[in-house]
């Protein structure tokens, strides 16, 4: 009995080892992991349905067009098991970054036929320790055994074998262009000639005479010396260049060896048994179709200007503070029965949790809701405490720099102390509370002026002003502010200085200061500053409430979350299609607008975690959100192909 049990246990273990999850193969130095769950996806949509779609045909054509064989028409042609998980990960090892894509194989014969055709040669294909290795280049390989495959590529990021083109350039040009000897030669020659002339007793007064007589000879001698010197420099340059080339080649070879050895080590590791240093992923949901994890999302670098000078503001200038303001990101995409949704979380360090709790403790001023019309096209709201934001940022920064050993930590710490004395957080929080809301009210035809030319009977031209109707968005920005006194003073000052004019109970920005092709209005009421180009919205502000009330669903969404966004895509498409001058690419909306519904997004701070949700409900009558999405993509592809 024991023997049978042991055999069963061993068999089970062997089976477990062989069908180990691929995610466990990624190391703890991973910074990103993306998972596509074929099993979940194909629960929602049939494999055949995907294979018959235009999307599949397009992707198959684009990805495999260089293969000297017919494009695959079915997943099974690839020999890949699409009902399993696919993983893409980035690992940041020392001096090298790996980009890895791995998946399970369903049919080894088909798989090998597919990957080898047109790509495998005697030089680039080898079998090492039972692993098939197809090398596309020195830093890019496809490796497989009977069960799963790994596509791995890498980038060397170390310094030892890097080649600096910058240093090379300046070294090169240094010897090439420098030419200061010639002046000395001229001077020397000139002196000699003068002395000679005088000794022969033919010395004439004035340097002018000497130069006149000896100039040609001087020039000749100068040119000869110049030529010899240039030849010498050319030789020197060639030797330097040869030396540089040799160094470059040596470094390149060493770098290649480094990459090859490290990649092989990583590959062996990947295909071996248990991984003792595997990355711990806790936030991937089993029924998600796509899951993403990203380590240490740098919250300070979440701006689009993350390069150059602006990049320094996010990382260099903060001397590592950016790492303080970071968290792990998890996102899961679901194809549910009645909606497509993306749920994500960012987990913060303990130091940040308490601070963020204070910053996100506020709720949007309920007065905002009074001025939102129920037939709005879309909106986006956010609410946080400005006062706490400044206070907590000072506290965190201070704490960080007091314990940091960066070069200028002490100076920055002192600077922060001084600034905290000067800055009145409460007053700033009063002026700008941290509540804000953007509304897309409508699209409407507005009369717009433009300049053109007219010709008289003799074709003399004059500039004329004409008008035309143009479909433009009507929008409103609302910003919370409790300091009525300052706002009122600023308005009065702006009127005095002719920046604003008064109309009814609101202000109009003067044309000279208005870059928009429509009038912009300003108003302040109920602790809210309004900026809008919609006269209807200003009428709502004047009346103190909207005629069409906002639904309770929207009110709840806005009140209960740090941020809330909504877009009525169907209505938006109808409005955009009203434009006679509509961009041709947008004409695809004619074909899909009836299938469009709304889009919702919310964020809330819950127990130290920022939880976000994006939801796109599907129309009634649709049986599956995956099929719905695929059909829409196919409609767009068909439209693009036709036009």
């Amino acid at each position: 009995m024991k023997l049978i049990f042991s055999i069963l246990l061993l068999t089970a273990s062997a089976f477990t080892v062989n069908s180990q999850s691929l995610i466990s193969k990624f190391n703890n130095d991973a910074s990103l992991l993306l998972s596509v769950n074929g099993g979940s996806l194909f629960e929602n949509i049939g494999v055949t349905e995907v294979e018959n779609s235009l999307l599949f045909k397009e992707l198959s054509h684009e990805m495999f067009r260089r293969k000297p064989m017919a494009n695959p028409t079915q997943f099974s042609d690839l020999g890949i098991n699409v009902q399993e998980q696919f993983y893409f990960g980035i690992e940041n090892a020392e001096d090298i970054i790996y980009y890895m894509f791995t998946y399970k194989i369903s049919d080894i014969t088909k798989f090998e036929t597919f990957v080898k055709t047109g790509d495998a040669t005697e030089e680039n294909f080898t079998i090492v320790n039972g692993l098939n290795i197809l090398s596309y280049s020195s830093d890019s390989k496809l490796v497989w055994n009977n069960e799963y495959a790994l596509f791995i590529t890498s980038t060397y990021v170390g310094e030892e074998y890097s080649y600096s083109y910058y240093d090379s350039y300046y070294d090169y040009s240094d010897s090439y262009y420098y030419d200061s000897y010639s002046e000395d030669a001229v001077e020397t020659v000139a002196v000699e000639v003068v002395e000679m002339k005088c000794e022969e007793g033919k010395c004439e007064s004035g340097e002018g005479a000497v130069e006149e007589i000896d100039y040609t000879q001087q020039e000749k001698e100068r040119q000869e010396k110049y030529k010899k010197e240039q030849e010498r420099r050319e030789k020197e340059r060639q030797l330097k260049e040869e030396k540089r080339e040799k160094e470059r080649e040596e470094k390149r070879l060493k770098k290649e060896q480094f990459i090859e050895s490290h990649m092989m080590e990583r590959i062996t590791n990947f295909f071996s048994g248990n991984n003792d240093d595997k990355v711990e992923i806790t936030g991937f949901e089993n029924d998600a179709v796509v899951s993403l994890w990203y380590r240490n999302v740098n919250l300070m670098n979440l701006n689009p200007y993350s390069y150059g000078y602006y990049g320094m503001l996010g990382s260099g200038a903060y001397f590592g503070l950016g790492h303080y303001f970071s968290g792990d990101y998890y996102g899961n995409l679901f194809f549910k029965e009645d909606q497509v949704s993306l749920e994500s979380k960012i987990s913060y360090s303990d130091e940040l949790k308490e601070s963020l709790k204070k910053i996100y403790s506020t709720k949007l001023n309920k007065n905002f809701l009074k001025y939102m019309s129920g037939d709005v096209l879309g909106y986006s709201s956010v609410s946080f405490s400005t006062e706490d934001m400044i206070t907590e940022t000072e506290k965190i920064s201070q704490d960080f720099f007091e314990h940091s050993d960066e070069e200028f930590s002490a100076e920055i710490s002192a600077y922060i102390d001084l600034m905290s004395v000067i800055i009145d957080e409460e007053a700033i929080g009063d002026l700008v509370t941290g509540d804000a809301l953007f509304m897309l009210n409508d699209f409407a035809y507005q009369t717009v002026e433009y300049t053109s030319y007219e010709y008289d009977e003799n074709f003399n031209s004059t500039r004329v002003k004409k008008t035309k109707q143009e479909l433009l968005p009507e929008f409103t920005i609302m910003i919370g502010s409790k300091n009525e006194r300052i706002i009122t003073k600023l308005f009065k000052l702006a009127v005095k200085r002719n920046l604003l004019s008064v109309k009814n109970s609101y202000f109009i920005i003067k044309d000279k200061y208005n870059d928009f092709p429509f009038e912009m209005y300003l108003a302040y009421k109920d602790e809210i500053l309004f900026l809008s180009n919609s006269t209807q919205q200003m009428a709502i502000v004047n009346a103190g409430k909207a005629d069409v009330k906002l639904s309770s669903e929207h009110k709840k969404m806005i009140k209960k979350n740090i941020s809330a966004s909504y877009l009525n895509m169907n209505l938006m498409a109808e409005k955009v299609l009203m434009d006679a001058d509509i961009n041709k690419d947008l004409r695809v909306l004619y074909e899909i607008k009836d299938d469009l519904r709304s889009f919702y997004a919310t964020s809330k701070f819950n127990k130290g975690t920022l939880e976000s949700s994006m939801v796109m409900p599907i129309p009634d009558g649709e049986t599956s959100s995956a099929i719905y999405l695929l059909n829409m993509i196919d409609t767009v592809i068909a439209h693009e192909t036709k036009h």
Binding site: V448, Y450, S452, Y453, E457, F459, F516, P517, F518, N583
Partner: protein, 221 residues
Amino acid sequence: MKYSTYIFLVLIAFFQVSCFEVIEEVKIHQDGSGTFKYTVNFSQSAAKIKSLLLMDEVEGYKVPTEHKMVSEFHDICNLTKSIEGISNVTRLTDFENYIFIYGCDFKKVENLNTIIDSLSKKTESVDYLKTDYFSYSKETKIFRRVGDDIFKEAYDKLSESKKAIFTGAQYTSVYRFESEVDRVSEENAIVSVNKKAVLHKLELVLLAKKGSAINKQIYLK
């Protein structure tokens, strides 16, 4: 016209521009000298341009900043200043209405061809054919305007949505003389009441597809 490629490049960035006009004005004196004025007017699309200029990139094309546009225009003007026969170069950049005007005086109208060739040399990486876009003979009193298909190549490469930029756009050419006009070879060109000017309006789409649509000979009395 080769220097239209400059306008073309700007247009690509402004791909949503729905309407604009280009005006070419040439005035020729009895002795063959004259003045030239080239106007590009985006005023009808000012609203869309303003919103586009807020972006860094549109459909893979980098949106030029106002500063960049001024700088490029300035470079073009400076380049033309050194051309023999060209003087009194002027330029106007109106970012309120998005109107750009280039003007100059010439000793003979063929100097304008040198402008175009100089600009082409600066920008074109392939060999180009020197073309006499403008010519005037004092003896025969014939003014010739000729177009070519250099714009066509770039236009044909555009996607349908980008070709739509040119829908509704107009190209107007006005030629003024001190003598009266006897006749014009182009039937769609109109002679003024005082018979000293000729106006010809074209759809820019037509000109983009076929440069010779602008061809004409004007016979003076």
